[in-house]
């Protein structure tokens, strides 16, 4: 099976936020929840870079480790998913996550955050693939249909890559060697304890 990962080529990202919008639309994510976001570093200064960030589907995921009810699981494609039926909305996954991926439908007053929501790599949840229940809780399951995550698929500059680790790393390496520069695979060292040598 594939080892699914995201890779944002910061030298190509133009901060159009289309990935954010596409994700919200595809999964009909409630208002206030951002499974994906674009963060701009050094905004307005020389060397400004934007990076689209969501759940990185970490190797040995910290959210899964700290979850008090063990509601996370990793699929055969190494996608980190969770069960909203088991989630108690304690918010610990957000503290553990290095990428700020977990989102909660309610403001945290009195600990009532509601069920956690996060990027599923367009792979749904524990319910039957493509079922109504799965869509309502986790959004579309594109992976089951043989499609890759929509955010990367429709990225206008092909900055955001999603797919098998070896494939997207190879694409990125070729880009970097052709154009002569690259600011690296953001988050990879933290998420996978490995980076792409360029």
């Amino acid at each position: 099976m594939a080892r699914m990962k995201f890779l944002c080529d910061a030298d190509r990202c133009i901060e159009c936020n289309a990935c954010v919008t596409a994700c919200k639309n595809e999964h009909e994510v409630p208002w206030g929840i951002n499974r994906r976001r674009v963060v701009t570093l050094n905004d307005g200064k020389p060397g400004e870079r934007s990076i689209s960030m969501a759940c990185m589907h970490c190797t040995d995921a910290p959210c899964a480790a700290v979850c008090p009810v063990n509601c996370f699981y990793t699929t055969a494609d190494s996608v980190v998913l969770h069960s909203k039926d088991l989630c108690i909305g304690c918010g610990y996954c957000f503290y553990a996550c290095p990428f700020g991926a977990p989102q909660y439908p309610k403001v945290g007053n009195f600990g009532s955050r509601g069920k956690m929501d996060k990027c599923t790599f367009c792979a749904g949840g524990p319910e039957a693939d493509g079922s109504k229940e799965e869509f309502e809780k986790y959004g579309a399951n594109r992976l089951a249909e043989g499609k890759l995550p929509l955010c990367a698929e429709m990225c206008s500059t092909k900055s955001l890559l999603a797919g098998d680790s070896d494939v997207i790393a190879q694409i990125y390496k070729e880009r970097v060697s052709r154009r002569g520069y690259g600011s690296g695979a953001w988050g990879w060292q933290t998420a996978y304890r490995e980076s792409i040598a360029t």
Binding site: N34, R37, I51, G100, G111
Partner: protein, 337 residues
């Protein structure tokens, strides 16, 4: 002549123009090479080394989402999943082992002169209410708090995922809402008992004798007022530990409120958890001394009465006060049925 001057002026002008072009030409020729698109680009490793977190700007209103990479989450994970389990396990199981060994060695502390049959009111209704408000909420907060750390290991395999999640969700709500009752209880206890818990000269002697706790012959009884030095220490630890729990707990109850960052939240959890498990261990010792550890002590918090002989042995100075006051109070001291 004028024509010549004009001619020379034109030649000079052309030369000057040629000179300007000559010196500026190499500059414009170098221009494309001078702009290196990556020279100033932010580098992830560099930013992480400098700040240990990477923060930028986002266009969505959720300010905390501007943190791009925050690897400290991994350290918090290490604390929560490994370090905390050791601290909690050692302190709580360690306290239980110490109490069992102490009980086996010392046995319950008896009333040496036996029961007199005369009761004396130790804690009135308000004091008992405040104590039990604090106690009941503390026990529930303790169990539901420990569930967050140890439930996954100890209870989840026994209960199964669905039942454990249902219980944990209720436990979470109980923990969140009963915290207000606990806060009220501790505040009232502080106001009610602070006067009785200021250090006095008698405390030095009590501490020197270890309160007679370690005298197997049961013949040492250090004089004490309503609260002995051990209880005063307990009182002040409870006051400060509760304050620590309440402050860090309310931070966790209102996450990211007024500019709290994810790093603040992690620190609050670490603080809350460490103080919490030590607090539970301490209160186990308190429960022991108030129940099986000391004969005749539990009544003080049950119906409020203790035996006069118990009072004379354990709180001699307070018993003297009470006997003196009893004439005024009238009826507080009465024979046991």
């Amino acid at each position: 002549m004028a024509k010549l001057v004009a001619h020379m002026r034109m030649v000079a002008g052309v030369l000057a123009l040629a000179f300007i072009i000559a010196i500026s030409a190499p500059v414009s020729a170098q221009q494309p090479n001078m702009v290196n698109p990556t020279a100033d680009a932010v580098k992830e490793q560099q930013l992480l080394q400098q700040l240990n977190t990477i923060q930028g700007r986002v266009t969505i209103p959720d300010e905390k989402s501007s943190v791009l990479v925050h690897p400290a989450g991994r350290e918090w994970r290490q604390f929560h999943t490994v370090t905390l389990k050791w601290i909690g396990g050692i302190s709580i199981i360690g306290m239980l082992v110490v109490l069992v060994l102490f009980y086996l060695w010392r046995g319950p502390m008896r009333v040496r002169s036996g029961y007199s049959g005369i009761n004396i009111l130790r804690f009135d209704v308000l004091e008992r209410f405040v104590h039990w408000l604090t106690a009941v909420t503390f026990v529930i907060l303790g169990i539901t708090g420990l569930n967050i750390t140890f439930g996954r290991v100890l209870l989840l395999p026994l209960m199964g995922p669905e039942a454990f999640s249902a219980w944990s969700e209720w436990a979470k709500y109980a923990h969140n809402f009963l915290s207000f009752g606990f806060t009220l209880g501790v505040l009232l206890m502080f106001v009610m008992w602070i006067g009785r818990n200021l250090p006095t000269a008698a405390d030095v002697q009590w501490l020197k004798q270890g309160g007679g706790m370690f005298d197997k012959t049961n013949s040492t009884h250090a004089p004490a007022y309503k609260f002995n030095a051990g209880q005063k220490i307990l009182f002040w630890i409870i006051v400060f530990a509760s304050a620590a729990m309440i402050v860090s707990g309310f931070m966790l109850l209102f996450p990211f409120y007024s500019g709290l960052t994810v790093g603040n939240m992690e620190l609050a959890e670490i603080f809350h958890a460490i103080v919490g498990v030590l607090f539970v261990a301490l209160i186990l010792g308190h429960i022991y001394l108030g129940s099986v550890g000391m004969e005749g002590a539990f009544g003080a918090m049950a119906d409020g009465n203790v035996d006069l002989n118990w009072a004379k042995e354990h709180h001699s100075l307070w018993a003297k006060e009470e006997i003196r006051v009893d004439k005024v109070k009238g009826g507080a001291m009465r024979p046991a049925e």
